[in-house]
Symmetry: D2
Subunit: 342 residues, 4 copies
């Protein structure tokens, strides 16, 4: 539980509050949360409640554990208007951010072909994994550092930003030194040591929602990064587990809209992982934009059938081009009316 | 299990087949399924399999129980192009079908106001419940037969079709005599005696997917109606239960697209029940159309805050008008490109 | 929303309350709920809240719609100690109630064999369906009235009670006239007209939780029956849908324990439908008893492999006998310690 | 996809196979999997199927990606009878393994009290977290290395084994050097770099199923560890996400039983995390044993109300003692009959 103190709360009031907390046997620490004084209760009796502090006049607000995405909450800050993507590029929120590329970096030639298509379609970010989290140990695990280099070159050749996944703290430096943006995958959303480390860095982090995680858990994962000081976090909705999915997962459209009412962090969607099959991707991509997604992360491959990873859900370059054109119409429609995405 | 016989299978082959089935102790009956000869196995040993009949040359195809939506399947028939809605009206598939109205018929005046709006917005069907399925026995249960009359008049005044829910066989005649189309609700999707009865009638049935049911179960429910001879079934996707819904349910977009690859029956969506809150309805409505929904069923109320039922998810007349305009753009976009909805 | 009035609330207070409600434009009715005066708000503005009535001194309690299982709630009544099963038989809660039999009544001979086993194992109720709800229209749909007669005779021969499913109001009289207890299946849990009708009758109703329904919805379904005056309702947990079930569904054990803290109605479990496969049934049956289930509903068949319905989940007579013996040990363990079910 | 070669497959046959694979453009490597020769296809066209290799006589079996838990599968090896827990202790499978302790190590005194109780109750493992994965960054994160030392001492004083969670590769050495067994938490089940590293070590790993993960994914996560050479993996079922959990999660009982048919790795259950509330823990613990769990991981705390982490789901020392006694009866019952767990 977090107790936010009133601005200008006097020393005496704070002293009384701390005394009271101690009398309950509560373990707490005081902390500055973006300029606000706060008392963080690390431990308190289960029977301790909001009412127990009703007389403490220096407390402005008590935040329950499940809502402790204090730094991430919309109350604290208006939504981003301009977001620094790194390498001096700025993303004007409202312009659909397109990040696309293969699931895994497989080689120079195939990435070059994809990079061209991403650039031509107005994309700004070239995605691609070199350290791959794969369900099976027998699946292709990525090219590692060699892949990072190939990725960097392809991105540079086309003036694209390089986005790649980082699996844990040990890989972080390798990835950080070369990439523009770092992706935290769905299976890693609650890799807290990694999140904490990313909070100390300056490059943008794309944080994907776990397929079995709630919105609140996603925001609390973001809070780990924000707490370290790194405010460049982009949230990504990518489908959740359900009892009868048509594709691999169900894209939780309403959560995209709801997250925009909860946080100032940008929200994009990954229709490729939600779909599982490429033929559903364009439809889910457009639907996500309608729902208010501010960007899209998509898998494109010059020859999906021979992709080393996730082939079935990757679009061909041609399908991607067609989709990019169609998305422009969707964006135009959405922006013509105020809040059409809501 | 259903054994579809080859066209022109001879008497001798069939005799041998039946003998073989009897030798396995199988209980079966022969049946004509839309002109095709079929042997329906009502009961067979768990260890009976497809291979057991490998030598029977008169069997064209064996259909497993979970895929027994034989009559509903796309293999049997191409998708509808023109669908008779009743009262001489035809729905040209491809033109977005709009059915809207209050959750419950509450009175003449408020329904009149809604009916006007539905008509003005290009809607063709006035929805409204007079026999309401309500989770709690203390909630408003509908006006019953009085409601049906009010509904009929309002629909007629504006040249709209009347769509209303039927709860069970005992109510059926009352509803059938007055309404143009009958709705089977999500909680009733597997009310098999009702489905069987609807199969004997001629008016269109709007069958909503159960919030805990699979696509296969939806198609098998439709199969009950089709088997009786009534082919005027419209399927309606309306959200499923998940572990962390943003609204009341999660709208299963990819299932809309997938159902269109499985069946020739038209598929519409109900964004109101998926949303649970009216502010998510327009977004889900548009997303459903993008996903390929051929129509929309929506809740509209002149004063949602005082609605007797489901107020929070009903749009105001103004919101509905705005949405109807915006939907036209979405439809235009979708139809401009071949298969953009896919 | 229900407003429970204080016992002995005066006419004046009630008048003021009603005036206040009218001023909010609320539609309400007064009702006696088991001897208590209550005001049932059928409709109220979404922005109406508990605070709006803070000054009304005659209101003892306001019950929110999702908690409107007022009649079913443990607050109103202690848990049953003796439950009249019909035909003069009493079930002393604490003695494990065993109801077993085939999914469907298939014929005199096979039912006789099962009935013997049920009796021998200490069972009191012979279950069996004659009107079967089947997912596919091509599956065996039950023997209908002929089945009821066979069922009655087999039950009588062994001094067992007859429990059978009723699908809708139209079948009700047929079933009611012959059976001792009526079952409402999972797919029918929210067949409200049927529930309402069952509330007017006197025989016990076994109400199964929908596989996609919440505990609150189950209790509200029971409330429909209780409201009519029939208090003989037995709840039955039978597994819910999840994203990766091992059997057909996941048996929600903790809900059994939790329901016992919510309602005074007896709670039993159906391990057969949760399991889907007979080899998991004994284990789930015992676990349910450990969790506090006060009875078990199980599928037994002399030759499961040739059962006309649900064969794979039926135990053989031998497996059932073995389980019945083992259950005695589990019950003994549980009863030796106070609250072992917790 | 893995191609298992026949024992004694000749050089010529292998050559032909490799040629064929190359002709399909497949990327593959040959590998020894526990003494068996195998060809692992890292990449193959989506349209490549089992039939494509029908003529290759040296292939004994083709294993699909979702079933690639080859090393973990029961086909490869019978279930463990004796499992080395470390520090020279052996666990005879069939004797219920009890691992208990606080969620987090909080201090010497409170851990001492718990350790005494664990020992007295016949427990063999003292669990406790010093590096805690916490949903919120404001929750207590564990005492780190200081906690490890306190934990080691308490375990040693009572002859218990020390089990603690490891969050990522960077913490691994610290934990490995001091603990007897390492726990991989639910949120970390797919931390593949960590799993791979654990595969190179020799101490036992307790791997918990992700709350949003399937059984197949759990087995594939174990496969990462086995592939490195470490066969000391214990699987732990701990509840999955559902739409209406009574506790925090639903304990997937049937999956415990099913996993025992799939793998030779021991399977235990964590009823504390499934329950979320301590009053459901004893019941779920017993049910898990009934389902076949070979051990239990439980949270015990001398004063749950003031626990720094997960207090509501921790049992008191007294509750734990009572449960331990009751479990003995359950085990006795289960072992008396062959396969009672089934």
């Amino acid at each position: 539980m977090i107790l936010l103190l009133k601005t200008g709360a006097g020393a005496k009031g704070k002293e009384l509050l701390e005394k009271k907390l101690r009398s309950f046997g509560i373990v707490f620490r005081t902390e500055k949360l973006r300029g606000r004084e706060a008392v963080v209760l690390e431990c308190y009796p289960s029977d301790f409640s909001r009412d127990s502090l009703s007389g403490s006049t220096c407390v402005e607000k008590m935040i329950d554990p499940s809502e402790e995405y204090f730094l991430a909450s919309l109350e604290r800050k208006p939504r981003w208007r301009r977001f620094g993507l790194g390498a001096g590029r700025t993303w004007k929120i409202g312009e659909l951010l397109i990040a696309a590329g293969p699931c895994a970096v497989e080689g120079e030639k195939s990435l070059e072909e994809t990079a061209q298509a991403v650039k031509a379609a107005g994309g700004r970010i070239l995605r691609g994994g070199s350290f791959k989290p794969r369900t099976s140990p027998y699946s292709f695990q990525g090219l590692g550092e060699e892949g990072l280099k190939i990725h960097r070159k392809a991105a540079d050749r086309h003036g694209l930003l390089m986005l790649t996944e980082v699996l844990d703290r040990l890989d972080l430096k390798k990835v950080y030194d070369i990439a523009d943006m770092m992706q935290v995958g769905s299976r890693n959303m609650q890799n807290f040591p990694l999140l904490r480390e990313l909070g100390k860095l300056e490059k943008p982090v794309l944080l994907k929602r776990g397929f079995g995680s709630t919105r609140e858990e996603l925001l609390l994962a973001a809070e780990y990064i924000l707490k370290g000081g790194n405010e460049k976090v982009i949230l990504c909705e990518r489908g959740v587990r359900g009892f009868n999915p048509a594709g691999k997962h169900i894209l939780d459209l309403a959560s995209i809209a709801l997250l925009k009412e909860m946080t100032w962090l940008p929200i994009i969607a990954d229709p490729s992982h939600a779909a599982g099959e490429s033929r559903f991707v364009p439809m889910l991509a457009k639907a996500a934009v309608i729902a208010g997604a501010e960007g899209l992360l998509m898998e494109v491959h010059p020859a999906p059938k021979s992709a080393l990873s996730d082939g079935p859900q990757a679009m061909t370059v041609g399908e991607f081009r067609k989709l990019a054109r169609e998305l422009k119409d969707i964006v135009r429609l959405s922006s013509r009316k105020d809040g059409a995405g809501k």
